[in-house]
């Protein structure tokens, strides 16, 4: 299938990446080229094959339901672009 400019804009919006007209123009052939190459997987017969999620068999481990850390607010906020009153600050969301 072929990706057009509108599709590139849509996936850029889903990915939360601002794109310019120039970006879109450059990405259309690049993504088509890569996706066209990926299409060859269609040749592989995968009927009855379960999708592989965990590559090395491993058990889901559960830890005791207790607090193992906490009281590290200042460490959590240390790299925040903007922190106020002990919270991450963002532009106003609700008018």
């Amino acid at each position: 299938m072929s990706v057009d400019a509108a599709t590139v804009r849509k996936i850029a919006s889903l990915a939360r990446i601002a794109v310019t007209d120039g970006d879109v123009e450059a990405m259309v052939p690049e993504l088509n080229n890569i996706l066209g190459w990926i299409e060859q997987l269609g040749e592989v017969d995968t009927d009855g094959v379960a999708p592989l999620a965990a590559v090395i068999p491993n058990h889901q481990r559960l830890r005791d339901d207790v607090v193992t850390d906490g009281n590290i607010r200042d460490k959590v906020l240390a790299n925040a672009p903007q922190a106020e009153h002990g919270f991450f600050a963002v532009p106003k969301v609700i008018e």
Binding site: T7, L14, R16, A54, N58
Partner: protein, 495 residues
């Protein structure tokens, strides 16, 4: 006498223990070498104080008779590992100035074992690349040059290109790397060093900037097989902070090194004989087969029928996981924030991510978002997960017949910077031999095995059964001993 900076990890450790030199002398020698090698652009930041402090602690420990496994040894750390109090950027503008308040498990283990840190090594941005041309901090240059007199700057491989360049140039004795589709093995091959990616789950991924979580695995890069074994031993082990960490003991890989392969079977997968492979690489592969036969191994032809589908499978799964992992970079909790005048929250996210990510990272996020989007999820992502199962099954079946597999590491020697960067697809094809083992999660290593006609290193790859790093290291040692690879790049970079 050999210069301190030419001694590998084992040489430094043993020489320090024997009292041939102090840890401070080692740290000073390497700090000086790092400071004098800016032309390679191998480091994003240098941390001579960390190396010096660890050296002073090592000298005190020696005096007190309390030596640790890596006492006296300084290392380079790929800038994908979070290091408490030291900037960690993943070579991105997005994380410029980010200073973790916590330590990755792997670096924590290395420092607890006595190692010091010489600096944070450059890489492809968010580990996405095969040439080190996607770093926000400029390209890493390989210390190697073609013997044609042209002096074209060559790619050190990627994504662990700062690590491979620094080791090959002897400005660090060994370094950490990470491997998602070949990011340890391909740069090792390009620069004439050894590098091992262990079984998925051997090394904790806690505190490593995530790229593709089901594939990412830390590993060791060093001058030779023994040094790789020592470093990997110190990096490995169970970590409750990583839910995919394997709760198994770490074997004594160094102590059990043996190049005697009697009774071992080595598989030669016919599907790795690809079109357009340079004759020199094919010849080296045949030579490698003879070396392993000479070491006592029986050679067996095997088939991994889904090999040719590994690369397209990888370029669905890795971008899909990347698009999810990199969603955390939105300008709220850490890293860059780009807030245009009057922008709302959504606009802040989009502006931040547009400004913070380089072109290759954006390309992969967009591919990943596309293959995971409604309507395409099953056609791409689920399909790729199924093909991945078949690729893993190919390895399982091969390992019923043989103990390890031998293949070339990369389809070419190092190329010049800029030579392949115009075409993403051509760049992706560089990982054709390394990606299958990544998808299957099995251990694999590259060892330097020879030079091509232009005087550039070529590597051979050994792939092993899950958790059989020893078998991989031993076969690697057998090749190393017979290849007698002693070539070193001419020192053109030192001031």
């Amino acid at each position: 006498m050999t210069a301190i900076t030419d001694l590998g990890l084992a040489g430094l450790r043993d020489g320090f223990r024997a009292g041939d030199f102090s840890a401070r002398e080692i740290a000073d020698a390497f700090n000086g070498a790092v400071a004098g090698a800016k032309a390679l652009n191998a480091f994003i930041i240098e941390t001579p104080d960390h190396a010096t402090a660890a050296a002073e602690a090592a000298d005190r420990a020696r005096a007190a008779g309390e030596l640790l496994p890596l006492s006296g040894v300084p290392l380079g750390i790929k800038d994908l590992f979070c290091t408490a109090g030291h900037q960690t950027t993943a070579a991105s503008h997005m994380l410029g100035g980010f200073t973790p308040t916590y330590e990755s498990t792997v670096t924590g283990k290395l420092f607890a074992a006595g190692a010091g840190m010489l600096g944070k090594l450059n890489l492809d941005q968010f580990a996405m690349g095969s040439s080190n041309e996607t770093s926000a901090y400029g390209n890493v240059v390989s210390p190697w040059r073609r013997n044609d007199g042209g002096n074209a700057p060559l790619a050190p491989g990627g994504s662990s290109g700062g690590s491979s360049s620094a080791i090959a140039a002897r400005i660090v004795p060994a370094a950490t790397g990470t491997d998602t589709g070949g990011s340890i093995r391909q740069p090792a091959a390009f620069t004439g060093i050894a590098g091992i990616k262990p079984t998925y789950g051997r090394c904790s991924r806690f505190g490593i900037v995530a790229f593709a979580s089901s594939l990412d695995q830390a590993g060791a890069m060093a001058q030779d097989v023994r040094d790789s074994a020592i470093l990997l031993e110190a990096m490995s082990g169970f970590d409750p902070k990583d839910s995919t960490s394997l709760d198994v003991a770490v074997p004594k890989w160094e102590a059990n090194l043996s190049s005697d392969l009697k009774g071992k079977k080595v598989g030669i997968p016919k599907e790795y004989r690809v079109d357009n492979m340079p004759a020199e690489i094919d010849a080296l592969w045949r030579q490698g087969i003879e070396w392993l036969r000479d070491a006592g191994a029986e050679i067996v032809d095997v088939s991994l029928p889904h090999t040719r589908y590994a690369l397209p499978t990888y370029y669905i799964i890795a971008p899909a996981e990347a698009s999810s992992n990199l969603a955390r970079y939105d300008g709220v909790r850490y890293g860059l924030r780009d807030l245009p005048e009057g922008a709302n929250l959504q606009e802040m996210y989009a502006a931040t991510r547009a400004a913070g990510f380089g072109p290759e990272v954006k390309r992969r996020i967009l591919i990943g978002t596309y293959v995971l989007s409604a309507g395409y999820y099953d056609a791409y992502y689920t399909k790729a997960q199924k093909v991945r199962a078949l690729i893993a099954r190919d390895f399982e079946e091969a390992f019923r017949q043989v103990d390890v597999l031998l293949t070339p590491t990369a389809p070419s020697a190092a190329f010049a910077l800029g030579e392949k960067s115009a075409d993403p697809l051509e760049m992706y094809l560089n990982d054709v031999f390394t990606v299958p083992a990544s998808l299957a999660g099995v251990p694999a290593m590259s060892v330097p095995a020879g030079l091509d006609g232009q005087g550039l290193p070529l590597g051979l790859q050994i792939i092993g059964r899950p958790l059989d790093e020893q078998g991989v290291l031993n076969a690697g040692l057998a090749i190393e001993q017979r290849a007698g690879f002693t070539a070193k790049p001419q020192n053109w970079w030192a001031k």
